[in-house]
Amino acid sequence: MKHLEQEELILCHYGEAEDLAACRRHLEACEECRAERDALAGALALVDAFPVPERGAEYGSEVWRRLAPRLVETKTVSRVRSWPLARSWAIAAALVVMLMAGFVAGRYWRQPAVTEAISAPVRERILLVAIGDHLERSQMMLVELVNASDGQAVDLSAQQQKARQLVEDNRIYRRTAAGAGDAAVAGVLDELERLLLDIAHRPASVTQSELDAIQRRVEAQGLLFRMRVIGSQVREREKAAAHNSPQGRT
C-alpha cells in the first residue's frame, strides 16, 4: 500500500486534499498513516495554545478614539506645515552635516575636529533626532500628495519643491544609516529617496491619472506605514539614548 505523503496529510487535515474522500478512506485502512496524521494533529493542536491577549467589548471604541484624529489629519495636513518645525529641522540637518564633516576630517587628517567637542552619545542623539524629524517631514509631504485634490490637472509644484529639499537630506541620512549598519532605516530611506526623486523630476502639473499612479505607488509599497514604524523606533532609540547619556539624565 502506498502511504500518504506529509503534504497530502497536511492538505487532508485542513480539508484541502484534491481527493479528500480517498484520503480519508486510506487513513481508515492504514494504521501507519493514521498514526502520522494523529502526530500532525497533535502538533497543530499545540499551536492553538498560542494565546491572543483579549480585548474587551470597548476595544472598538478605544481604537476609534485613537484613529479619529488621524483620519482628520489626512485631510488637513496640507495646512499644518509650520515654520518652527522647518527651522528646527534645518538646524538639525546643519548639525548632522557638521558632524559628518567633523568625522571625516578627524578620520583622515587626524586634526582636532568639531566632533571631539561632542561626546558619542550626544552625536547619536542628534542624528536620531534629525532622522526622526526627516521622516516626519517626509511623511507630511507624502500625506499631502496622497490627499491632493481631484481635478483635471493637479499642481504638484509645492510638493516637488519639498521633495527636492528632502532628497538631499535623505541621501545624507541613508548613507549614514548604511555606514552604521542600520539596514532597516537605510532600506526605508532608500525607497523613500527613489520616490522623492520620482516626484521631484516630474512636470509640475500632472494629470489625475498620473497622480493616481503616484498615490498607488505610495500605498502599494506601504511606505508611509513603514516610515511611521521606523520613525517611532528612531524616537524610542533617541529617548533611550537621552536616558543613558549623562547630559540626558535629570
Binding site: E16, A43, A49, P51, T74
Partner: protein, 194 residues
C-alpha cells in the same frame, strides 16, 4: 454573504458618502477580529495595535475602491495582512513575541476552578506557549502569514493565494514549510514530563 457582511453593506455605503459615524460603526465592529489576526501575524501586542490602526487608515483612504462583492470583513483582513507584512519587512524580522505567562493571562486566571491545575500542568502549559511563540517567530513572513490564515482564520488555499499574490503551489508550499517547521520545533513539547 453572512449576516455581518449584509449588515456591513449598508453602513459601508454611508461611509463612502462621507458619513464618519458610519465609518466609526465599522471600526467598532471589526477591531477585535482584526486585532486577533494582527497579533497572530506579528506576535507582538504593540505591533498588532499599530497594524489595526494602519488597516483602518488605509481602508478609509481606499473606501472608494472597495468592491462590495468581496465582503467588507474579507477586504479588511487583506489590508491587515498587507500591513503586517509591510511591518515585518520594514524590520527585516519578527519582533520576538512576548508570550504571557499562564498567571498573567486574564482568560486563564478567570477560568481557574477552585481546585486549579497542578503546578506541573501550569508549568507545562506555560512552556508550551513559549515554545509555540518561538516556533511561530522563526517562520518567514510569508510562511507565518499563510499558516495563520489557514490554521486560525480557516481561509482556503485559494483565498490565501489571492491575499498573498502567490500561485496556488507557492501558497501550499508556504503552508507545508510552516507546518514542517512547527512540528520539528514542537515535537519535544508533545510529551509532558510527568
Amino acid at each position: 454573504m453572512d449576516r455581518m457582511e449584509a449588515e456591513d453593506a449598508d453602513v459601508v455605503a454611508r461611509a463612502r458618502d462621507g458619513d464618519m459615524e458610519a465609518f466609526r460603526a465599522l471600526v467598532e465592529r471589526h477591531s477585535r477580529g482584526l486585532f486577533h489576526l494582527a497579533y497572530r501575524l506579528t506576535g507582538n501586542e504593540q505591533d498588532a495595535e499599530d497594524v489595526v490602526q494602519e488597516t483602518f487608515i488605509r481602508a478609509y483612504r481606499r473606501l472608494d475602491r472597495y468592491e462590495s462583492r468581496a465582503g467588507f470583513g474579507t477586504w479588511l483582513h487583506r489590508i491587515t495582512v498587507n500591513c503586517a507584512i509591510d511591518l515585518t519587512r520594514s524590520r527585516g524580522r519578527h519582533t520576538p513575541p512576548r508570550v504571557p505567562a499562564f498567571e498573567e493571562h486574564p482568560d486563564h486566571t478567570e477560568q481557574l476552578p477552585a481546585h486549579g491545575p497542578s503546578p506541573e500542568t501550569v508549568v507545562y502549559s506555560s512552556e508550551v506557549r513559549r515554545k509555540v511563540g518561538d516556533a511561530l517567530d522563526r517562520l518567514t513572513s510569508s510562511e507565518r502569514t499563510a499558516f495563520v490564515l489557514r490554521h486560525f482564520e480557516e481561509k482556503s488555499i485559494e483565498e490565501i493565494r489571492t491575499a498573498l499574490g502567490l500561485s496556488e503551489n507557492a501558497a501550499k508550499q508556504c503552508i507545508f514549510r510552516a507546518v514542517r517547521k512547527l512540528r520539528r520545533a514542537l515535537g519535544p513539547a508533545m510529551s509532558p514530563a510527568r
